[in-house]
């Protein structure tokens, strides 16, 4: 039994990297705007479909299709914030949550209208292969997902820590009012972060389409897994989202193998419930309860 542990950790890490990317893209929006995007899962799904359309439909090379899909989702996220969220930004949380849900719902409807309820299996842009390290099997998918996410994380880290733009983003994350005082256009910043979150989500969608068939309802599952990873990581922390995602991926695999296979399906539902019951502020987060 224990002999399989390294294998489970490796494949769990691979799925976990994917969760990490999705949770990260949700966290970017949440940190920037303090609104959790309940439509984010559908944006991820839309990203996956967009690559499929650009690639197979228009016959573009995979990387070009991917770049176009990311650009498209960036524009969509930007426009959604500008046109739909910004007008009600001062309104109640409920309206903001509903608006995000409705955006996702609309996207899902559009996907279903075009493709019905059939599943699509996009072909990989590379030959699927397996590599053996001792008795641990690593698939090309694992390598591609882990490699891309790590590359992306490194790039994001450099962007945030080294560049002046990164400093501006970090400062605005910390204090919106302070940022506004020093002349940062906060509404524009919100729109850019919605775009950025959607673009990151689209990339997650691309990775997702490597390991799972596409259906218009893909976004529902994605949303729940993203929430679980965010909760584990403590809401709002970028590093926490990544850690939470990887932890979720590994936990799922271990519980699924050593305890019961049902945990592969329900860990994502149980995690937010259990974690928030034990610690209403998330595993590493600050308290988010009503103050006196």
């Amino acid at each position: 039994m224990l002999a399989l542990l390294p294998q489970l950790v490796v494949s769990g890490t691979s799925t976990g990297m994917l969760y990490a990317l999705i949770a990260l893209s949700m966290t970017v929006v949440y940190r920037a705007t303090t609104v959790v995007n309940f439509g984010h899962g559908d944006m991820v799904a839309a990203g996956a479909y967009a690559v499929f359309v650009f690639g197979l439909g228009f016959g573009l090379p995979f990387l070009v299709a991917m770049a176009l899909a990311i650009a498209l989702l960036f524009a969509a996220g930007f426009a959604a914030q500008r046109m739909l969220l910004q007008p009600i930004v001062a309104g109640p949380h409920l309206s903001l949550a509903m608006m995000a849900l409705a955006i996702g719902y609309t996207l899902r409807g559009a996907l279903r209208l075009q493709w019905g309820n059939e599943t699509i299996n996009p072909s990989r842009p590379y030959p699927q292969d397996v590599y053996l390290f001792g008795n641990v099997v690593v698939t090309t998918d694992d390598a591609v997902i882990c490699g891309s996410v790590l590359l992306l994380l490194a790039a994001l880290f450099l962007l945030l820590q080294v560049t002046p733009l990164g400093k501006v983003i970090q400062a605005t994350f910390q204090s919106q009012r302070g940022a506004a005082l020093v002349g940062i256009n906060v509404p524009l910043f919100h729109a850019l972060m919605w775009g950025g979150g959607a673009a990151l989500g689209a990339l997650g969608g691309v990775m997702l389409s490597l390991i799972t068939p596409l259906t218009p309802d893909l976004g529902q599952w994605t949303l729940v897994q993203g929430f679980a990873a965010m909760t584990l990581g403590g809401f709002g922390s970028l590093g926490g989202a990544v850690a939470g995602g990887i932890l979720l991926g590994i936990t799922e695999k271990l519980l699924g193998f050593y305890v019961n296979t049902v945990f592969i399906e329900i860990t994502g539902y149980l995690v937010p419930i259990l974690v928030l019951m034990l610690r209403p502020q998330g595993l590493f987060g600050r308290r988010a309860v009503v103050r006196v």
Binding site: G109, L113, N117, F227, F235, Y269
Partner: protein
């Protein structure tokens, strides 16, 4: 809604089945069963102001309770309505636990959403009772030995139940309870300082909401005749959300208007899967942007009879 109007509406509906074909009757029945679904949801989200996304859980619990009791115990449908309400109410009380622990806003939304998904997974996995993802056939309902085997017959049973539920909930909301819900929504701490045991009222709102929705689920079970877990997914959640957003938050009239619109409108697009979601998504977007208090607020502007004294969004 004024008293007279409240009783006029169901009276006016009595002869309507004579004018409808079976398909139209089915649509009307569906609209009726979504009225309690909207009312229960609205009680928690609109009146109490808590972001609980577990409405579909109560709906499914009510539907499966009714269906399973009919199949496994051979009970007549009308006897399963109260257990369906009870189980729905218990589901509501369970969903209120995080709120009692101080979980609010998106955290509460995420937890309750996960609770609903966990219930859906339970329906899929508990195959012995629910038939798993293939679903279960629900036998023909009877009411005191009278078979509810046509949509027209079910209509009258549904109408009676809905009138009862609306009347009780209306009474609840007009009383000090309804006022306490709104007070908790506006300012929880001040509400407690006025002597309101806020925790107890939160549980009450969730449980009553869950019970009302559970009855809607029992109606759903015999209306569709076949229960599958996919009827209780996140897409269904958003459809139910559309009822209260489009109809009007914290408004009984709103829940009724919303139920009718959400049920009737998609029939127009039924041959294009996805089109209804697209249209509803856009409709919710437009309502939030331009009519934040929903269609009920338009009615209230037309005539004071539609002003609901203790219901506000």
């Amino acid at each position: 809604m004024s008293r007279r109007l409240f009783w006029l509406l169901p009276l006016a509906l009595l002869p309507v089945p004579l004018l409808l074909n079976p398909y139209q009757q089915y649509v009307l029945n569906t609209a009726l069963l979504y009225v309690p679904v909207g009312i229960g949801f609205n009680l928690v989200v609109g009146n109490l102001g808590l972001l609980a996304f577990s409405n579909v859980a109560y709906f499914g619990l009510g539907a499966y309770t009714s269906g399973v009791m009919m199949v496994q115990l051979g009970m007549p449908w009308w006897l399963t309505v109260i257990p369906a309400a009870l189980v729905g109410g218990i589901g509501g009380a369970i969903a209120s636990i995080p709120a009692l622990r101080g979980v609010r806003l998106f955290y509460l939304a995420i937890m309750t959403l996960a609770f609903g998904e966990l219930m859906r997974w339970t329906y899929i996995r508990w195959e012995a009772l629910t038939g798993g993802s293939m679903g279960m056939a629900v036998p023909t309902a009877t009411l005191f030995g009278w078979a509810l085997d046509t949509d027209r017959r079910r209509f009258y049973a549904f109408l009676a139940l809905v009138v009862l539920l609306v009347a009780i909930t209306d009474r609840l909301l007009r009383s000090r309870f309804g006022r306490a819900f709104l007070a908790i929504k506006d300012n929880e701490i001040a509400a407690a300082a006025m002597g309101i045991p806020t925790d107890r009222y939160i549980v009450l709102a969730f449980a009553w909401g869950g019970a009302v929705v559970g009855v809607g689920g029992a109606m759903f079970a015999i209306s569709v005749g076949h229960l599958t877990p996919v009827s209780f997914d996140l897409t269904e959640l958003i459809r139910q959300f559309a009822i209260i957003m489009v109809g009007g938050l914290a408004s009984l009239t709103g829940a009724i208007i919303g139920a009718v619109i959400v049920t009737v409108a998609p029939q127009v697009f039924i041959s294009f899967p996805g089109f209804d979601e697209l249209v509803f998504g856009l409709l919710i977007v437009l309502v939030i942007l331009f009519l934040p208090r929903g269609l009920a607020s338009l009615l209230a502007r037309v005539h004071p009879a539609f002003v609901e004294r203790y219901y506000r969004g």
